[in-house]
Symmetry: C3
Subunit: 255 residues, 3 copies
């Protein structure tokens, strides 16, 4: 084992950290964890393998990598496995990622390179996040979501199961995507929205289930989107209506 590991840290199992890693006090790393060079594991963080971690990754204090799915927790509760972290799927964190304090990445999810997260972010199972994407503090990404490259997700955004977000999308603070059309009153297969490349969603907007928002469209702050939105449309209001087209001089977010 190379790098600097605090005497109170616990590094178990077949873990293999690259050179110049810094493991702080009260860290617990277990399972088959393999990391690149120069990673930082902040105080009290928890990494449960199998996990493949790139170079120069920053894990703030009290982050969790490799949280078990509900199925595994229930298997533990029924006495079928000795601990909830025994049969985890493999997690992958790309180079240069920044995962700030309190954030939790479920086992089996994958972050690309240079993903930068705020604090207390939740990424559930079977999620893929592309390269160079930023995810703000308090964001929740539920399971089976696909998030593209150079996406900018501001603080407190909620993204439900089965949502698809393409490259260069911008989600303003506290906006809400939904996936249950009937609020548990009628049978419905949960489907989140599809946000095409370059869409911008304003602060606090709500997007109804299974809606498609066309490429480069803009949804105004506080809008409630109940119908598909055409590409390059500007929509706002409750319910949202089209008021204009995006001017040709405007670019895609993070272009």
């Amino acid at each position: 084992m190379k790098g600097r590991i605090h005497s109170s840290a616990i590094v178990e199992g077949e873990t293999n950290l690259g050179k110049d890693c810094l493991v702080e006090a009260f860290v617990l790393i277990r399972g088959k964890v393999q990391s690149g060079e120069g990673c930082y594991f902040g105080p009290s963080c928890l990494v449960q393998g199998p996990a493949l971690i790139g170079n120069h990754v920053f894990f703030g204090e009290k982050t969790t990598i490799g949280f078990p799915s509900q199925q595994l927790v229930k298997q533990f509760q029924k006495g079928r496995i000795q601990a909830p972290w025994i049969k985890l799927e493999s997690t992958r964190i790309g180079d240069e990622c920044i995962i700030r304090s309190g954030s939790v990445i479920y086992a089996g999810s994958q972050l690309g390179n240079n993903v930068r997260m705020g604090h207390n972010v939740l990424v559930r199972e079977q999620v893929k996040v592309g390269d160079n994407t930023t995810v703000g503090t308090g964001v929740i990404i539920d399971g089976k979501c696909a998030i593209g490259n150079k996406v900018s997700i501001q603080s407190n955004v909620y993204i439900p199961w089965n949502t698809q977000i393409e490259d260069h999308v911008f989600l303003g603070p506290n906006c809400i995507l939904t996936n249950d059309k009937y609020a548990m009153r009628y049978p419905y297969e949960l489907k989140g929205p599809i946000l095409r490349e370059g869409v911008s969603v304003g602060a606090g907007a709500v997007i109804m289930p299974n809606i498609e928002v066309g490429a480069e469209a803009i949804i105004g702050a506080g809008a409630v989107v109940t119908k598909d939105v055409p590409p390059k449309a500007i929509v706002y209001g409750v319910p949202a209506r089209k008021h204009d087209d995006v001017p040709d001089t405007w670019k895609k977010p993070l272009e």
Copy 2:
């Protein structure tokens, strides 16, 4: 003491854990804590008794059970008690509960059986949560709330002091209940809404203080509810108005 307790964990006082419990690294359990069989205490979690914990309960890493009320914190600040956790009220957690990482349950609150919580949930003092209720990530339940059985609270919902939620209610993501009619501008006794059995509230909706929502009514996403809602009404918009009745073929949530 039975079960497996990591050598770095601290188990103090008159704690009595049932068989097959697993206590992970950096856990602190203190005060009179009594648990059933097969419980999991994740890394860095904190349990401050008195507490009565059922069988097969899962506490994710960094959870807190037995957080002190503001009164106790202030007594400590004034030097009247030696530590803020000395005179805690008793907390009760039912069988099979799942409390995920970062969640905090105040001393004196009670969870029924099979309550399943996401991450970073806050439950303040004098709260009762019924059986088989689910509480999403980031939900805040302030003090003196009564939450029924088979309630489904989605992520990031805010529930203020003195709120009453009956059985089979569904609260969509990020919806907001309120309890101060005059926003601190005029004297007002804080009163949250009353949500009767089987109500569904859409994502991001706001319900004003002291509103009663009748049984099985549906409140649309993004609605601002300023008046009482009749049973089985469908209301939406800003301000919310009745547009329809719930069809007879629809069921209650989680029925």
Copy 3:
């Protein structure tokens, strides 16, 4: 070193705690930290100096004081500094503050006296918070914000970079201030709103960038504020319009 320090706690560097401080298990205090008397450092909390802490401050479990800016994290990732906490700016916490579990204060920010925070609050760099201000659970205060005295910020409020909030302001739960007029589609210097003395903002309201809300105005729940608001006006709706003036008998919040 005076006070009671648990044997598992790590207190490094030139730290100097006042008498009757209580340092719990798994705490890490490092750098030049100076505290007054009677402070409480809860289990697993992290304090990275330089920091000047007043008397009778309560840090709940898993709080962080002195989180590094993104610039420092990136310098660590590039191998230019040995740890991300080496060159932190000095943090200041006034007397009698209550910082509850999971909250994070960035290095270089300043809290006045008797600031009371909920859980999982985030205060980023270069923020000043005045005396006797309360900040609810899950609130995010981004960098370079100035928050006055006797401000009441309810749970889950989002406050972006470069926001100015004067004394006696009330922000209802989940309300959203914004600072990017074009949602990353067109060049714009990020400017948050200015909330003048005694303003009240209702639950879930959205305030657009660079808006000035005049003294003692009231913004209704769920409003979307797109234009400056005159002093003492009552506005609501989407978009918000003036409907009335604040009655003379009403006071400022926390007056």
